[in-house]
Symmetry: C2
Subunit: 259 residues, 2 copies
């Protein structure tokens, strides 16, 4: 029986330790095709490259997988992999392992999750993995049995149509992984602080920075699970319709008054 084909992407670049850990783990489940950005693309959200061009480079390796770097965004990487580089049907798309959390509202800014969501749009079972540790030399080893097992579950059982998984792994500072919780996205936001500086010619510029604010006291959220040392698994869908608002809006009179 042919081994499954697993497409791997991320947003920290093809050279990040997190994707290397994910590649090693996925090679125990199937054949691996890596298409990932050639430079860090954190915070790129679901951006695609339409006003400039893309280049692809094959990255040779001795570990038995096929790998390409791309000058574009994580979503570009998935589109190129699916439509150009994959030589047989893809069975699973995995993205990560991200250096840093993509829980709660971070899902919307995350290039890692956007790659998984693009895999989902293209019709493949897709998972984004993130470790709640931003450091370059984060230790990915302790979470790999979970990463492999969750990927194997999705390979075997599939996912509901239009749904992918946002998997976040608690910071190692929380102690060992306590287990896994299926959760909902916590209500949260970033409160921005614009760090204003002056360049050598006297011009003002800004760094976007800020602090995370969890607005959700629920015990069924991803933030709660992570805080308690559990891996959070949030099913994420690509239909953004707020169905609960449709009936209320349908009562509105949208016809402009005649003047």
């Amino acid at each position: 029986m042919e081994r499954p084909l697993i497409l791997i992407c991320n947003d920290d670049s093809i050279f990040a330790p997190g994707i290397k850990a994910l590649i090693r783990s996925m090679q125990t489940l199937g054949d691996v095709l890596v298409v990932a950005p050639d430079s860090p693309q954190s915070g790129m959200g679901h951006a695609i490259t339409i006003n400039s061009t893309l280049r692809i480079n094959r990255i040779p390796n001795d570990e038995g997988y096929e790998a390409y770097s791309c000058t574009g965004t994580p979503v570009d990487c998935i589109k190129i992999a699916v439509n150009k580089l994959a030589k047989r049907p893809i069975n699973l798309v995995v993205s990560g392992i991200n250096h840093g959390s993509n829980s709660s509202i971070n899902v919307i800014y995350s290039g890692t999750m956007s790659a998984a969501m693009e895999g989902c749009i293209e019709g493949f079972p897709s998972i984004g993995f993130s470790l709640c540790n931003y450091s370059y030399d984060a230790d990915f080893e302790p979470c790999l049995p979970y990463v492999r097992h969750i990927a194997a579950l999705v390979l075997n059982q599939g996912l509901p149509s239009g749904t992918c998984l946002n998997v976040n792994i608690p910071s190692p500072k929380k102690g060992g992984i306590k287990g896994v919780k299926v959760a909902r996205q916590a209500k949260a936001m970033w409160v921005e602080e614009l760090d204003e500086r002056t360049d050598p010619r006297g011009g003002k510029y800004f760094w976007l920075t800020g602090s995370f604010r969890n607005l959700d006291a629920g015990m069924d959220t991803d933030e709660y699970a992570l805080e308690k040392g559990f891996i959070s698994v949030v099913p994420v869908h690509i239909d953004f319709t707020a169905y609960s608002a449709i009936s209320e809006l349908s009562q509105w009179n949208f016809e402009p008054p005649r003047i």
Copy 2:
């Protein structure tokens, strides 16, 4: 009574005709603050600028509104407006009018809609407006009574928490606007074609292009409404949780087998 403060953004740049039409229309409802990208940012999705710096320039005008261009993405513009440039509380965030459709799956790639969604994350009633006509000299006049009326409705009645509106206006080629339909996001995708070219030094590069495919035969979708000549109003939420999948996933055994 103080006039409402309306924040305006887009992704086609502060110099695009679509935003100028929106500014004119919103000035009849309140005081206008424009913070928009200094260059086209179509397809930027929910990208934010964290690996480089941002600059802001005041753009003088004789039409009585305050305007700033920003070197960043549409989402950056909203963050900067809310946290730095707005001098009093914002009552409404509007984005657009986009030159081109942001219906169905386009909501996820759209910088215009990401600006509206960021307004929603920050807690403001927010609307993205798009005209299904990509040309630079598209005629925005016929839709302005609807744009103004929808903005006035949202100003007066608010929107459910965590929900913003994705408003798409049919192509003028469909004839006059037939009315407004509240709709759900159609299931759709882009089938990519990578247009491969060779640079003067023999290197290969690609343009990302493709064709839109509506996978949804429903008569309650935005695509259907637009096809029939109606403006589509889709309530969009920022909670991406696929609640319907939670109970199924909760049955899975996520504990890795002990080896």
